[in-house]
């Protein structure tokens, strides 16, 4: 003998709201006809729902509310559309956003100029270092004792201005 499976309560609630498919509703109806427990629960849910509908009074909004609303609408200053709305209309950038746009473009331009300057400097330094390497290799090949890379004239360590590629070169070695 097959065991009868009761309907899930959540499905019963959805059935009450008419949210189930025709097929599912049909199955529930068949089950409700034969199961006292489920049909009692369904009836209680239904009667509570009806009672709630009946006791929560439906009210009409007062007429003065409409008058107040339209007075408020008339008195309110015209709303300025947001950037997104302006973009949707396909119009040119609105006046109030222009200073921000100019500031953004200026910042971008400044960033490009600074980056280009640094890039150019790095390229220059690279070129100088390559030159030094080449000169040093030549001195070494000649076996010259007065190699400018190993001595200083007054015995003190050589001093270079900050950012001098020559200094970086010596530090590396």
């Amino acid at each position: 003998m097959s065991k009868r499976v009761c309907i899930k309560e959540v499905s019963l609630s959805a059935y009450l709201d008419g949210e189930l498919s025709e097929e599912a509703s049909g199955q529930i109806e068949i089950h409700l006809a034969s199961c006292g427990k489920c049909s009692a629960l369904y009836e209680r849910m239904k009667s509570d729902g009806d009672l709630l509908l009946q006791s929560l009074s439906v009210m009409e909004p007062p007429a003065r509310m409409k008058l107040q609303l339209f007075k408020r609408i008339d008195a309110a200053p015209e709303r300025r559309p947001g950037l997104l709305e302006w973009m949707q209309t396909g119009q040119i950038l609105p006046l109030r956003f222009r200073p921000w746009a100019y500031a953004c473009v200026s910042m971008l331009f400044l960033a490009v100029v600074i980056s280009a300057f640094h890039f150019q400097r790095r390229m220059e330094n690279g070129r100088l270092l390559a030159e030094i390497d080449r000169s040093r290799a030549e001195w070494v090949a000649r076996g010259n004792a007065l190699n400018p890379f190993n001595i200083s004239t007054d015995g003190a360590p050589l001093k270079f201005a900050a950012g001098n590629p020559f200094k970086a070169y010596l530090n590396e070695r």
């Binding site: 959540v10 709201d17 509908l53 009946q54 006791s55 909004p61």
Partner: protein
């Protein structure tokens, strides 16, 4: 004022719906261009629904009036941002919902005033069968009051979902659109709210 009354009753429901959506579409187009007459017609159609939704959520009539007014004011101001006219009702409910929660944050949502409770009793007395014996009528009044008290104790999320489903007559899909949640969670909330009412009414 709404077009609902003008349509003959013999028109099939689907056609009626289509006609209504066409009317709403043209009203919205006009209202977007600042036509307050068109917006007034939209107001007439939806004010009752929003007012009742707000009043069942917040309890106090004055608060419900404020919320309804704010909802329509914001709707008029932001009408241009509404792209899908078919979603207007959901959009309106979303604004109302935001206003309700805003109000709830400012002042904890209060219970109904005594005045409203009294009106509730009168409403139940009017709606119950006058031919029924006075004892039964009084019993139904008592039950009505009891279920109202139980309803007020529900968590706000359950209350909102139940109001939208049973009192406002929206389907689960529309509610999920308003609340920004899945249909299954809406379904579960309604079921839990019902179960809570059942349990509390049994006590």
């Amino acid at each position: 004022m709404g077009t609902t009354e003008k349509l003959p009753s013999s028109v099939p429901p689907n056609k009626k719906k289509l006609e209504l959506s066409k009317t709403l579409d043209s009203q919205l187009q006009k209202a977007k261009l600042g036509d307050s007459q068109a917006f007034s017609e939209i107001y007439d159609r939806y004010a009752g629904k929003i007012f009742n939704f707000a009043s069942h959520m917040v309890g106090l009539r004055e608060d419900a009036e404020d919320i309804t007014q704010d909802t329509f004011f914001l709707a008029f101001r932001n009408l241009k941002s509404l792209r899908e006219h078919t979603n207007f009702e959901q959009w309106l409910y979303r604004i109302a919902r935001n206003e309700i929660y805003k109000k709830g944050r400012k002042s904890a949502i209060r219970p109904d005033s005594l005045d409203d409770a009294d009106k509730g009793i009168q409403h139940v007395l009017r709606s119950s069968n006058p031919a029924a014996n006075p004892e039964n009528r009084l019993l139904s009044v008592e039950l009505g009051e009891r279920i109202k008290r139980v309803f007020k104790t529900l968590p706000i999320q359950y209350k909102e979902t139940l109001v939208l489903a049973t009192l406002q007559g929206l389907n689960y899909q529309e509610i999920s659109g308003i609340q920004g949640r899945s249909i299954s969670s809406v379904k579960t909330d309604i079921y839990r709210a019902r179960l809570m009412i059942l349990e509390k009414m049994r006590k």
